[in-house]
Symmetry: C2
Subunit: 344 residues, 2 copies
DNA sequence: CTGTTAGCGCCTTCAA
DNA sequence: TTGAAGGCGCTAACAG
């Protein structure tokens, strides 16, 4: 069971441990080809793997970044984790992911764990409203937060990455207007977060610019409890129970923009239960482009967040500090599928 | 930036490093209460965190298990990762998750990485057909594989955990028969894996027992390329393009059991495009109970895999070897939703 | 080009 | 109840 160590390899290869170390760290110019070959062979023969803990203890750095998400059971964050893993791999770096379940205590605890592992930085997709604690982390390691917006409250040292929220809703409005809609609803939970406020702002500006009717429908009550506490089913339920109120809104909207896909899907189901057909009777558009948007019926038109590009940028910020801006907004991409059409 | 170390705490508390160590390892009986208090205070004042690498190097074990999944972007495996994280946390253990993208080379590489981190064991939800390599790992650390079935080919030392596949399809048949269906199709990709063969077997036995018509529809061709290479969209597309063939099957099935939910959802969409309504014109049942099954239209009847229980068992096998069986089958649970009804 | 050496931070006897 | 000391496996000078 006990793993072979660098000494064993050295002995077998008939060279010194430092040559093995050089070999492992790709300093090939420091040895003759045949030494190289012997080392290679010895390593394979023994099935030798360097011990990360020892290496880390010595060098002081772990090739590792930490990732915090609300829950991996939430499809959006599963995709994010996958993208971050891919991005980190480009830098020979591994990712340690923790689910926080949006629990502030747990968030604090796992950040401490991450620090104990010596991660090079922390990426969070689970930023709490209280950014003070996050800001405090920046004195320990670089911190990149997805989807929170810089404000006076949060320290300069938190790097932020977000989709351009105002652009997303504005593009949604433009798409709908181009289709001929003249009255559009924006459906959202209470816009507590700056992100949601940005989406609202983008919506209102685009509505004003197009000179059409815009309705804000706040979805904040649901009759059925969430079936999965961590999967963000709430938004689905919220959307579903908002369907009737959307139709009854003052401007008689013929289309709705949901704050995200999960909610859009819920709205769609609610609308169908009310007897409407999508997109014939009503158009629907989401934000995110989660996996199931394409597999939905009808396939959902949405504004895709460029997750991989955002993940790449996040990892870059951690591993090559100073290489990029502190705050960056990524443009969403309109994915036209079958949930939007001209109004009747 | 440099973290405080045990010496610093000792100095500040006015005690020796070993007392700090005793404190950290909960050997409180070895010191006076006031020493304890002083240490506690010093730790907090410094924001001290023990260095995992040093601890691991010294003790030889990392409180960590490794998890391999095809991709976290696949909702089922995101849920699995979440469940494993929860299970491991009960043992003060962390999880390092890697996506393999079903690439054998990558699978081998990440297993080696996991070993280098000194994980206590490896849980894989991404077992390749070639179990030899997996079996070879068992000499390095305990290995638990989800969803592969023990056979003569794979070594005794791979511990396996799986839902009872035969029971799942059998229960699905029984549910459908109770509803009045007399001709049922099982839709599956080619049943290369033992798991799928078991599902097929359970289906056939249940069909025979009920004395009704059973049809096997192999879905192996799709016209549209997968939209997400790692999200298992293939099964969705496969299901969708199989819809017509299901209806045309010899026995004129009035209901279908899909090999999993993803495929069931695809079949449902395909069927609807053909003008059928579910469950009025046709009943559909899946296996897994992924998140979106409940949020689908109509909500999908399915056989739930008890993921948390399975994850608990997997972690148990790793952390408390000998505590459980080597191979274990978990009973699926029938979740009746709205995609099944009596035939017309 | 290769070997020797001194720790990285912590844990754990062992002695005081 | 506390302190001193050795070493886990590896890396990076530095000396040969």
């Amino acid at each position: 069971m006990s793993e072979p160590k660098i000494q064993d390899v050295a002995r077998l290869a008939g060279v010194s441990p430092s040559s093995i170390s050089n070999f492992l760290n790709n300093r090939m110019e420091q040895m003759r080809p045949d030494t190289q070959r012997k080392i290679q062979q010895a390593i394979e023969q023994l099935g030798y793997r360097p011990n990360n803990a020892a290496r880390q203890l010595k060098t002081g750095v772990a090739k590792m970044v930490g990732l915090l998400v609300p829950s991996l059971a939430n499809q959006f964050f599963g995709s994010l984790a996958c993208a971050v893993e891919t991005a980190a791999a480009r830098h020979q770096c591994h990712v340690m992911t923790f689910s926080t379940f949006r629990d502030p205590d747990r968030e604090r605890a796992v950040m401490a764990d991450l620090l104990a592992y010596g991660v090079q930085g922390i990426i969070t997709g689970s930023a709490l409203n209280d950014t003070d604690h996050l800001a405090a982390m920046t004195s320990r390691c670089p911190v990149v937060a997805f989807d929170i917006k810089r404000s006076e409250d949060n320290h300069e040292r938190i790097m932020t990455i977000s989709v351009d929220n105002a652009a997303a809703t504005a593009m949604a409005v433009e798409h709908l207007v181009a289709l001929g809609h003249r009255s559009i609803a924006l459906v959202s939970p209470p816009p507590y977060t700056l992100n949601r406020q940005d989406r609202l702002k983008g919506f209102q500006q685009a509505i004003a610019q197009a000179g059409i009717a815009g309705e804000l429908v706040i979805a904040d009550a649901t009759d059925t409890p969430p079936s999965d506490p961590h999967g963000d089913t709430q938004l689905f339920e919220l959307g579903r129970s908002a369907a009737a109120r959307i139709l009854a809104a003052p401007g008689k909207p013929t289309a709705a923009i949901a704050i995200n896909d999960m909610m859009a899907i819920g709205i769609g189901v609610g609308l169908k239960q009310l007897g409407l057909r999508i997109p014939d009777d009503f158009s629907l558009i989401g934000i995110d482009d989660i996996f199931f948007s394409a597999a939905h019926d009808p396939p959902l038109t949405t504004l895709r967040q460029p997750i991989q590009a955002m993940a790449d940028a996040a990892v870059q910020r951690i591993l090559a500090p100073g290489a990029g801006q502190v705050a960056e907004l990524f443009p969403p991409e309109l994915i036209v599928r079958a949930s939007t059409a001209a109004p009747k």
